[in-house]
């Protein structure tokens, strides 16, 4: 038995040695006279990655009240990716309706983006977006969220849902500084009072590599 094992190791060594010799023969390191070539293939893997910033929570201004009917707020997300096929950025609310205060809530604005305008006897909450990668045909051409609580007339707003809705997309790598997308929040009351209180909405932005 021991004899066989010994033979096995000896033969294995001889076999590997032979392979080595064979390699040296067919791949000489010293070239003689005539031109010879060789290729090496260098491989680098660039892993895809994506980041999103975490903007501060938003307090809409001014406060709504019996003499104030409209309020706005702003959040900016910056997305960076080296994904060759780019990214999408979507937003969604954690609840429906999105903006709630105990038993009271603002209805979600309509789901098709339109210029901000509230139906009579309603109070509603919605959002719009603008930025380099935001489609102006969908979201309008506004470049700010408005002023003094009044939403920009050149933006188009829609209501939140609990499923993600795309607000920006790019089909290529971003610059290292990323791409900002601004989300504009708007709330208003028309012909009816929203009950007083502190209303909150939790909005999740999701950046996904394509």
């Amino acid at each position: 038995m021991k004899k066989n094992i010994k033979k096995f190791f000896v033969l294995s060594f001889i076999f590997l040695f032979s392979i080595q010799i064979f390699y040296l023969i067919i791949e000489p390191t010293v070239t003689i006279a005539a031109a010879v070539t060789d290729n090496v293939i260098v491989t680098l893997t660039v892993d895809s990655g994506i980041t999103i910033t975490s903007p501060a929570d938003v307090t809409m201004a001014p406060n709504l009240g019996i003499a104030t009917n409209s309020s706005i707020g702003t959040a900016i997300w910056n997305v960076k990716t080296n994904r060759a096929t780019g990214y999408t950025l979507g937003v969604q609310a954690s609840s429906a309706p999105a903006l709630v205060s105990g038993v009271n809530s603002f209805a979600d604005f309509q789901v098709t983006p339109v210029v901000w305008s509230l139906p009579a006897t309603s109070y509603q909450f919605g959002y719009s977006a603008f930025g380099t990668n935001t489609a102006t045909a969908t979201w309008g051409t506004g470049a700010n969220c408005g002023s003094s609580g009044t939403p920009t007339a050149t933006l188009k707003y829609r209501g939140f849902t609990t499923s993600s809705n795309t607000i920006a997309t790019q089909a290529t790598v971003t610059s290292p500084s990323g791409v900002d997308t601004t989300v504009c929040f708007a709330a208003g009351q028309n012909g009816v009072y929203a009950p007083s209180g502190v209303y909150t909405a939790t909005i999740t932005a999701t950046a996904t590599e394509i």
Binding site: I50, V198, T200, E209
Partner: protein, 219 residues
């Protein structure tokens, strides 16, 4: 014998290569799952509680009380609007006791209820007295307390609406309307009725005034 060993060497070599290949597949997966990152922001909207009250119109009671006219009534109203989630209360009080006075010349006593502080129908005033009281009606005024009338009575005769219940004013607030929720934007109007009467006694001629303050408070 040699063939057997050669066969074993090849078999072991193939098995070794297979395991190395499997290890590579585990350490370096070829299927890449697209990455996703998320972030939350909390959006806060403060809806500030507020309440407004309209400026009630000063009122002159009719008809005038005199030697052949013993009763007189009048009305005014306030409109209250609030977005307070818990509503509002509206209360009234007089600036003096008694409320209706003609300087230091004379005055009407505040209406005397059968049960103090509990409004009751204006059943006339006791002989030898002259009194002044008020009632209220409106959407947010409880009919159980103030009666079911929808007007103050006959302004020509000064006779009060029998369906109303009156009480005397005091210098402390008495609630005449309330609700536990937001009002409509146009607010809620509460009407107040005033009544004065003399019975077998003359109120000294002159101009009597009462200053009534209505206070709307967000609940």
């Amino acid at each position: 014998m040699r063939n057997i060993l050669t066969k074993k060497i090849f078999t072991i070599s193939i098995i070794s290569l297979f395991f190395i290949q499997m290890l590579y597949l585990i350490m370096e997966p070829t299927v890449i799952i697209a990455a996703t990152v998320t972030d939350n922001v909390i959006v806060t909207l403060n809806v500030t509680s507020g309440v407004t009250i309209s400026n009630g119109v000063d009122t002159t009671m009719t008809p005038n009380i005199g030697v052949i006219s013993d009763k007189s009534i009048a009305s005014s109203s306030w409109n209250v609007a609030t977005n307070s989630a818990t509503g509002y209360t509206l209360a009234v009080k007089a600036s003096t006791t008694p409320a209706l006075k003609n300087g230091s010349v004379d005055s009407f006593a505040d209406y005397t209820e059968a049960v103090g502080g509990t409004p009751d129908p204006w059943g006339g005033v006791a002989v030898g007295t002259k009194e002044f009281g008020y009632s209220a009606y409106g959407t947010d005024t409880p009919t159980g307390t103030w009666g079911t009338a929808l007007d103050c009575g006959n302004v020509g005769t000064g006779i009060t609406n029998v369906a109303q219940k009156y009480r005397g004013l005091s210098t402390t607030d008495a609630t005449i309307a309330s609700r536990a929720s937001v009002t409509p934007n146009v607010g809620i109007t509460t009407n107040i009725c005033f009544a004065a009467q003399q019975n077998a006694i003359y109120a000294a001629s002159g101009t009597y005034t009462a200053t009534i303050t209505a206070t709307a408070t967000a609940a």
